[in-house]
């Protein structure tokens, strides 16, 4: 599989329910998660069900555009509650594969399933329209710093 995409947004929050902040860069810690993000410090809504494969999460910018185009739902990049907003990356086809984000490498573990939690937080009825396109979970194989605009491509 070949593709060349890029990092369009970076987002982090230290605790469940809190708004995500847009960042210029994120520090990825190999085998653990995103520095300062709730998943890396067991402060996430789902942290009572730990999962090695949920160290970093991705979401397609194209899905945000589809929600607006097809459902008139305005969901901002910092509202999808994943760490990285991607463009030009076929996230749903990457389960089980490794790919590079800038100088880092991640291994996709499973598709993210939407949960009603995001409706509570955003006040938007988006659960059903996010089915099958709620993003991707991954492990961090090679850590480092990632930045806005970094290239995303297969390893």
């Amino acid at each position: 599989m070949t593709f060349t995409g890029k990092v369009e947004g970076l987002h982090v929050t230290p605790r469940s329910f809190l708004p995500m902040r847009n960042m210029e860069k994120l520090q990825l810690i190999e085998g653990l998660g995103v520095e300062g993000d709730r998943h890396s410090i067991n402060e996430a809504f789902h942290s009572d069900r730990p999962e090695e494969g949920r160290q970093i999460t991705f979401f397609e910018a194209e899905t945000l555009e589809a929600l607006k185009r097809d459902h008139h739902i305005i969901l901002k990049p910092e509202q999808h509650r994943r760490n990285v907003t991607t463009r030009g990356v076929p996230l749903n086809h990457l389960v089980g594969r490794r790919f590079r984000v800038g100088t880092c490498v991640v291994e996709a573990t499973r598709l993210t399933t939407p949960c009603r939690h995001i409706e509570q937080i955003t006040g938007l009825e988006i659960y059903e329209v996010l089915l099958h396109r709620a993003g991707l979970n991954a492990k961090i194989v090679k850590g480092g710093e990632i930045h806005l605009g970094d290239i995303i491509e297969p390893e």
Binding site: T13, P14, R15, S16, F17, L18, P19, R21, N42, E43, A44, F45, H46, S47, D48, Q120, I121
Partner: protein, 312 residues
């Protein structure tokens, strides 16, 4: 057992003694992060250290994204939530709270008339900054038994509201002329009321014709005592007896039937269940009448007949 990660974690950053009976608590994220946003009129559930859960209106400016502010009047004869907040909660304490919910939103594009009774002023405090900034027409009637029982008069006087706030103290014969307020509403103006039950009953009686332009926010608890009856759980076939003086929710819990519940006062509707047969006695304060045809809140509601069937 409630898990921290399933609620918003806050710490008490400041406590203000407004007057002998009212304290304001300012809650912030432990790391100074922004809190989930809210809109004017919203409330949160506070999970007290004792396990009690109580609802309080957010009375701060929604534009301030790092603080939730609640005003709590100490109720000596209440159910214990306000006493615990007043007596036991200190600056630095951690309090888990719910996401803000808003069952009392202020219309965005109409003239607004607000009537507050006593501590019922709190939801309006969150609305005033944006009303002032928007330049929309509004008036706030603040009613209390006397000046010293109207805790927020100084704050309102400092806000530059001029004649858009009117004070009504029954002790000095300045009672609110409700009929005049209603008659003076614009054709498309909305009337908002928050205060004690007796005030709200009067307003609902006199202003019921306003329909969707009338908004009331209840606080306190709904209450009632029914004779014994039984609840049939349609899915399991289990029959749960409810004793006189016991709530349906208590009876369900005693029978190990788990129903999520929060305020236990007929306000938050967290415990609502679908009812299938029987004659329910509805005592919820906030459920739309149409919804009562399908739902019931076991925390306060009862049964007029010997058996009520729930979809559990």
């Amino acid at each position: 057992m409630l898990k921290r990660i399933h609620r918003v974690t806050t710490v008490v950053s400041r406590i203000e003694q407004i007057d002998p009976r009212v304290k304001r608590f300012h809650l912030q994220d432990p790391g100074g992060w922004e809190l989930p946003p809210f809109t004017a009129g919203a409330h949160i559930d506070i999970h007290l250290p004792s396990g009690l859960i109580r609802q309080y209106s957010l009375s701060g400016d929604p534009a301030r994204d790092d603080t939730y502010t609640i005003a709590v009047q100490r109720e000596e004869d209440g159910r214990g939530g306000s006493r615990e907040l007043h007596d036991d909660v200190q600056v630095g304490d951690e309090l888990l709270v719910s996401l803000p919910r808003n069952s009392f939103p202020i219309a965005a594009d109409a003239a607004v008339t607000m009537v507050a009774g006593g501590i019922g002023i709190t939801p309006f405090l969150s609305a005033l900054p944006s009303l002032l900034a928007s330049g929309r027409p509004f008036v706030l009637h603040y009613c209390a038994g006397s000046l010293d029982r109207a805790s927020f008069v100084p704050m309102l006087q400092e806000m530059g509201l001029a004649d858009r706030v009117r004070f009504h103290f029954s002790e000095t014969g300045q009672r609110l002329d409700l009929a005049r307020v209603i008659a003076g509403l614009d054709e498309d103006g909305h009337l908002y009321c928050c205060g004690p039950a007796r005030m709200l009953e009067a307003i609902e009686t006199q202003a019921g014709h306003l329909g969707e332009r009338l908004h009331v926010e209840h606080f306190g608890i709904a209450a009632g005592v029914d004779p014994a009856y039984e609840v049939l759980l349609a899915r399991s076939g289990q029959v749960v007896p409810v004793a006189p003086g016991q709530t349906m929710l208590q009876a369900l819990r005693a029978a190990d039937v788990h129903v999520p519940a929060s305020c236990e006062g007929g306000v938050c509707l967290d415990c609502k269940c679908r009812w299938l047969e029987g004659t329910p006695i509805h005592r919820e304060l906030t459920m739309p009448l149409d919804d009562r045809k399908e739902w019931i809140t076991p925390c306060v509601s009862g049964s007029a007949g010997p058996r009520l069937t729930l979809d559990l």
